[in-house]
């Protein structure tokens, strides 16, 4: 009975819609690809595979989603491809990482900007955290900053690359303490940056909360602070925010992950995705797998993401002006 009502409802709404959106009525009629601008096994890839696993359910999209990895140059390769070559028919989506792609577009040399894409919905929120090795002499942000002030440019600090969330956090910390760090971008993403901290190649590191949480549980590192507006209650209730530690750092470096389509995708397709995708992220199987893996979620609708993108773009333009 339920399906019958649903069918009638769908039929009626189809009737009401103009012919141009008829295509959206069939949409999606085949599997949908999601391009991930990072390699298989990275945090974005791993989370994208989890949050899309129930796409094939009848009440979500009715078609499965598969992942295509297009890694390279901190995500630039994948997003360049997505902005210039991807089909605008709703069958090619991409995962976005904020602030990465906005910061990269501000620095230039890429063929996209925030205006090249249409957000669909946000699934994850992974704040940057400041970490040190387990045997480090630093036990708090205050220790670290005190040392950095006395030894300008001596605190080697690893992060996943240039103009990614980790780098933004480092820039904000430098601005807030008016001191100088030696930021060391690594090749190989957050995992390589974490290895550098654990092995003692660097004195400190900025990394994803999810990866740091795991490394701390394994007894390899200490987490000194979270670059967010509030503490993370679920995973790190005892770790203070940088604000609490006296540094004026907001949540600009928080790594937001979600799905987007290229500009020019039919509005009806965007609307359908914007309505269904949050349901997919909210699915209880998705939530349980994400929480098991230590990946914090924050589901935001298309409108909320649009606001967030605009706000990020403004703060990042300000922050990166002098560089």
């Amino acid at each position: 009975m339920k399906t019958l009502i649903k069918t009638i409802a769908i039929g009626l709404s189809a009737f009401a819609l103009s012919s141009s959106s008829l295509m959206a009525e069939d949409y999606p009629s085949r599997p949908i690809g999601v391009a991930v601008s990072y390699g298989a096994g990275g945090a974005t890839d791993f989370q994208a595979r989890i949050v899309t696993m129930v796409a094939g359910n009848k009440d979500i999209l009715g078609q499965p989603i598969y992942i295509i990895n297009k890694p390279g140059a901190g995500g630039r390769v994948g997003w360049n491809w997505f902005a210039s070559e991807a089909d605008k028919d709703g069958y090619t989506l991409s995962a976005y990482n904020i602030p990465h792609f906005i910061a990269q577009s501000i620095k230039g040399g890429v063929s996209y900007s925030a205006d090249s894409f249409e957000p669909i919905a946000n699934w994850g929120e992974d704040p940057a955290v400041v970490v040190v090795g387990k045997d480090s002499k630093f036990n708090s942000m205050e220790d670290l900053i005190k040392f950095a002030k006395e030894n300008a440019g001596k605190v080697t600090t690893s992060g996943a690359g240039l103009f990614v969330g980790h780098h933004i956090a480092a820039l904000q910390i430098e601005k807030a303490c008016s001191c100088k760090l030696a930021y060391i971008p690594t090749k190989g993403g957050g995992a390589a940056a974490m290895k550098a901290v654990i092995a003692g190649d660097v004195m400190a590191g900025i990394n994803n909360l999810s990866d740091a949480y795991r490394a701390e549980k394994a007894g390899n590192i200490k987490i000194l602070g979270v670059a967010d507006l509030k503490r993370n209650k679920e995973f790190l209730p005892d770790v203070p925010t940088l604000k609490e530690a006296g540094l004026d750092v907001d949540n600009s470096s928080v790594n937001y992950r979600g799905l987007m389509v290229p500009k020019g995708t039919p509005q009806a397709v965007i609307d359908k995705l914007a309505a269904q995708v949050p349901l997919m992220f909210k699915h209880k199987r998705v939530a349980s797998k994400m929480s098991a893996g230590g990946s914090p979620m924050n589901i935001m609708t298309r409108e909320e993401v649009q606001k967030m993108w605009a706000a990020r773009e403004a703060t990042l333009k300000e922050l990166l002006k002098g560089l």
Binding site: V77, T156, A192, D201, R214, A215, K217, A292
Partner: protein
């Protein structure tokens, strides 16, 4: 000895079935051109969503071991290395297959994979705490020197000419710079939009190795009225086993080099096979035979690339740091079940951890059995008429390059490199040094930049790169390796001038 208590877990009906599925599936996926072990394991991840953690990991572990070995099949029979790990295998393996000894090459490759693989997993079981320290010992400066050590091997990897080997190595180093620089994001040598992503190693491998050979076959096909077909003699498995026993030196060099290099995060898997190949040639009594279809080459390369599998998981299982892309994918397979590698894994989920490790041990044995079983008829490919063979390899090459990231750019790059290599080969250059340059370039560069950045915050680059026992040890190895190449080269030149003198 805790692992013995959990051996039963591997032989539970569902677990064992998954082990079989993973092994056979892995062999097939590994033999498919373009599907690297990382991709194959990533493809299986969704299936593990539905399985219990132990079972999921058994599937992934079995697939990992057997895809690495399966890559040897296409490397030997088609000259398409499935992954960087199999490059060295194709150097002698394909020459053997051309002579009709494909079955022998496959037998030897699976047997030595099995031996290397089992020793690698045993190292993982018994020496993990020790090995974890070793894996962490390599900082940017050491990885830089290690990559340079690899570069010094380039010249000697090409047995025909030292200078041409170095030259093609330089071409490879240059090719590796194309695209965005991974650390700073600068754009380099992007002549066409296809190159923005740089040169992906898998399409490059396919192009450099398979395409020149396809073109050769086409070029020959018309002229020879009678198309040459190869006789494939029967090869008994006992003969192969005996031959392996006689090649103890290549086998042990391969296994040792593979285990040591496999440990180093971010480097190991790609170069283990090539370094082992080069080392076992330097120590072999039959130096000249390498590259002409010599079984020791296959044995060294394959024992190395499977010996690497166990140790490459050490950083992941103990420190929760994935040391290779494949390990990163395996990490995902653990995380979806809420299991964190590291102390948590061994303390709170010992059954998961040990069953997984044991399954890789049993998986190696199954892999050898199925591999050898299929070898005999897989080797009959060599009897296919050359034009058909060339067409089939061409199709596989196109499919394989496209499937890596569903990108036509990769196909164009593959074809361009392939045609270029065809002409370079006419001038006596070979693909192996070029590929080594392509692999080592980014490792050397990224670690040099990182080391330089770190050293600027400390006491300067000289101290950072040249002090400390490990740095000095590696520098000495680099000097010794360069010296050795020069010395043997001089010696050979003397011989040839002497011979020339004797003739006149």
């Amino acid at each position: 000895m805790e692992f013995l208590n959990h051996f039963g877990g591997v032989f539970e009906p569902i677990s064992f079935m998954l082990l079989l599925v993973g092994t056979i599936g892995g062999l097939i996926l590994g033999a498919t051109p373009g599907l690297s072990p990382t991709m194959a394991v990533a493809l299986l991840i969704p299936f593990t969503f539905q399985l219990a953690p132990t079972q999921g990991l058994i599937l992934l572990g079995a697939a990992y071991t057997s895809t690495v070995a399966g890559g040897a099949v296409s490397a030997i029979l088609l000259k398409i290395p499935g992954a960087p790990a199999n490059i060295a295998t194709s150097l002698d393996g394909f020459e053997m297959a051309k002579k009709g000894e494909g079955a022998r090459a496959l037998h030897l490759s699976f047997l030595s994979s099995g031996v290397g693989g089992i020793i690698g997993v045993l190292l993982l079981i018994f020496l993990t705490p020790l090995l974890a320290k070793w894996a962490l010992a390599f900082g940017p400066s050491h990885l830089f020197w290690l990559a340079i050590l690899g570069v010094t091997v380039i010249g000697s990897l090409d047995s025909k000419s030292f200078v041409k080997g170095l030259l093609s190595g330089c071409i490879g180093l240059w090719l590796s710079m194309i695209g965005y620089d991974d650390i700073q994001g600068a754009q380099r040598f992007i002549f066409s939009s296809s190159l923005t992503g740089g040169i992906n190693i898998i399409p490059a491998l396919i192009g450099l190795f398979a395409i020149p050979q396809v073109l050769d076959m086409f070029a020959k096909g018309r002229r020879n009225a009678e198309i040459e077909t190869v006789q494939v003699p029967k090869q008994s498995i006992m003969d192969s086993a005996r031959e392996l026993g006689r090649s103890g030196r290549a086998l042990s060099i391969g296994t040792i080099v593979g285990s040591i290099i496999g440990l180093i995060p971010g480097v190991g898997g790609q170069i283990a096979g090539l370094v082992a190949y080069d080392q076992s040639r330097k120590f072999s009594k039959h130096k000249k035979k390498f590259g002409t279809g010599h079984s020791e080459g296959v044995i060294a390369a394959e024992s190395a690339n499977n010996a690497m599998v166990g140790p490459s998981l050490v950083p992941l299982l103990t420190l929760s740091i994935p040391g290779s892309p494949t390990a990163a994918v395996l990490l995902g397979g653990l995380l979806i079940h809420g299991i964190f590698p590291g102390t948590d894994l061994f303390d709170n989920h010992p059954k998961v951890a040990w069953t997984f490790i044991n399954s890789m041990l049993v998986g190696q044995v199954l892999m050898v059995i199925f591999g050898i079983y299929t070898a005999t008829w897989a080797a009959r490919i060599a009897r296919a008429p050359q034009p058909i063979m060339a067409a089939a390899v061409m199709v596989l090459a196109l499919f394989g390059s496209y499937s890596v990231q569903q990108s036509m750019s990769d196909v164009y790059i593959m074809l361009t490199l392939g045609v270029g290599m065809f002409f370079l080969e006419k001038f006596g250059f070979s693909a192996a040094p070029l590929v080594l340059g392509l692999i080592l370039g980014p490792i050397a560069e990224a670690n040099f930049i990182q080391g330089a950045l770190i050293s600027n915050a400390q006491n300067g680059p000289l101290e950072y790169f040249l002090t400390g026992p490990l740095n000095i040890f590696l520098v000495v190895l680099v000097i010794a390796s360069v010296g050795y190449s020069f010395w043997t080269n001089m010696l050979e030149q003397k011989e040839t001038t002497l011979e020339a003198g004797a003739k006149s």
